[in-house]
Amino acid sequence: MSFFSDTEAELLQKHLSRRSLLGGVAAGGVLVTPLALLGSRSARAASGNAPAEITVAGAHQAPIPIVVPDFGPGLGNQISGVISSDLSSTGLFQVMGGTVPASVQPDFSALKARGARVAVAGSATGADHVRVEMRLWDVVAGQQMEGRAYTASPSNWRRIAHIIADSIYKRLLGEDGYFDTRIAYISRTGPRRHQATRLAIMDQDGANAHMLTNGNWLTLEPRFSPISEQLAFLSYANNRPRVYVYDLNTGQQTILGTFEGISFAPRFSPDGRSIILSATTKDGGADLYLIDLATQHRRRLTSAPGVIDTSPCFSPDGQNIVFNSDRGGSPQLYVMSANGGNAHRISYGNGHYGSPVWSPRGDQIAFVRIGSGGFTLGVMGPDGVGERSLTQGFTVESPSFAPNGRALAFCRQNAAGAGGAGFTSSIAVIDVAGFNEHIIPTTTGASDPAWSPLRR
């Protein structure tokens, strides 16, 4: 069963954290091993752990010029194509084609002359198991920054590409990437007045999309578990709208809790052990509940009569909850402690607010503001300070952070004209600094994106 020597296994233990052997090569995993260094002593010296980070935090800065060559015929070509597209999609890299030798040091002066700061070298070999070697070269310093080999079943070639792109991202930006991730969403087909909605999932770049439910009932609001292959979502099955948990491994759906009204707006707690949701009440309001997934025990967190409290989301440390409430007369954003106390309003701009979601970095809350001119997607501090808008549109809503907090997926819809013509619904991604918005290609209309954690 072993595809690597004992020494390689030891090295792996030392080098790898999240890219572990979970699942094994045959079961769909990707095996990562360090590569021997090429070239001179200086290259060897530079292989230490001192990161050559390039800071891009905050505002939009000039993208990093990086050469990503064709990794060779067949899978090599496809893999380098996905790496290029992943890096380009962030807006943080200026990807250039070119030739970089896979087994010797590149010609640094030639690469420098082209304006490159970093160069990737790579190759793909093997049939039963594809082995992809990748090296990352600091063109300016003339040093190797990283060298790894990735072994997996050929059917997993896209994951290899995403994992390589994540490793390049991390080495150059100093934080985890988000390429080896998926987005759960709602697929939309048919006329505007009666769209068929299906729970669906795809890779973050739109590849490998497939439908998880059959579209018989209105289905909305998927949310990823931070710890397991599970989604929470809202289904109108049997005309009883309520929250279900979908197991991605088995396809099994389980009703979550028992509520007299509609249970909706689910979201996992950061530890993955509970789900917070909203449930409508007979008096025209909606209360927030926390449900323990192991015991199904439920605890009501808010209970103001006739008030709508919905769209709850935990802070990443689990200490606070941001939510949408009309307790003050119009829908606004509030933050309270995780036990339901000390709610205070944080949104004070013009219009109504909704869909708050806390950044995994903890420092920002993304939201939707609705004014006379349409919808605005924005971010503000957890104290409501520093509000700024990222993008606008007829409808922009349902923001979901990439696991590193650097980008947001959201739903963008265009207005419908006469007869519903012109209505479109798609998933877009934008950098949290408000640049590089782009649509994720989907085969059907799409809404309600939910970004997964990094895969393990």
Binding site: R193, N239, F264, D326, S355, G417
Partner: protein
């Protein structure tokens, strides 16, 4: 639901003479299929409800208060329901698409509740009324104009 409704309609037709007001109604969305017969809608049917009372009431932006027109419609619905005590209904609350998906689910439910409470106050037994909210996901008017939004802020009663 549709199948069930047709079954009920078939029975009603067999037992009673199919007569009543004959009006053409725009039954868009939500599966409110009318059985148009030359003699007019089947008594106790959805088409009869539409013809006799009207099946929907409208709301202002972000509101769930019934206006006088809406109350008049619900008065007629209550009277109609008193004539057909075997008929149960589903009241579905809907919203325009100028709010978030999640807030609108709760707002639509609030609108359905407002209609339900009014009907109950007029003597309709609570057990006969089910409510649901589709938020902004089942618009009855297509375009994105203020007129279409006004039509989409509603509570629609259907025979179930």
């Amino acid at each position: 639901m549709k199948l069930k409704m047709f079954a009920v309609l078939g029975m009603a037709c067999a037992l009673t003479a199919c007569s009543g007001d004959h009006k053409n109604h725009d039954n868009d969305g939500d599966g409110q299929n009318t059985q148009q017969m030359s003699q007019g809608p089947v008594p106790g049917s959805q088409a009869d409800l539409v013809a006799t009372a009207g099946d929907r009431v409208y709301f202002e932006l972000n509101k769930n208060q019934l206006n006088s027109e809406g109350r008049a419609t619900l008065d007629k619905q209550a009277a109609w329901l008193a004539r057909y005590p075997q008929v149960n209904i589903l009241v579905a609350g809907n919203c325009d698409d100028r709010g978030t998906e999640e807030y609108n689910i709760a707002l639509g439910q609030r609108r359905a509740n407002a209609a339900r409470e009014y009907l109950e106050a007029k003597g309709v037994a609570p057990a006969r009324i089910m409510t649901i909210s589709y938020g902004k996901d089942r618009p009855t008017a297509d375009g994105d104009t203020p007129e279409a939004w006004a039509q989409n802020r509603n509570a629609i009663t259907s025979v179930r």
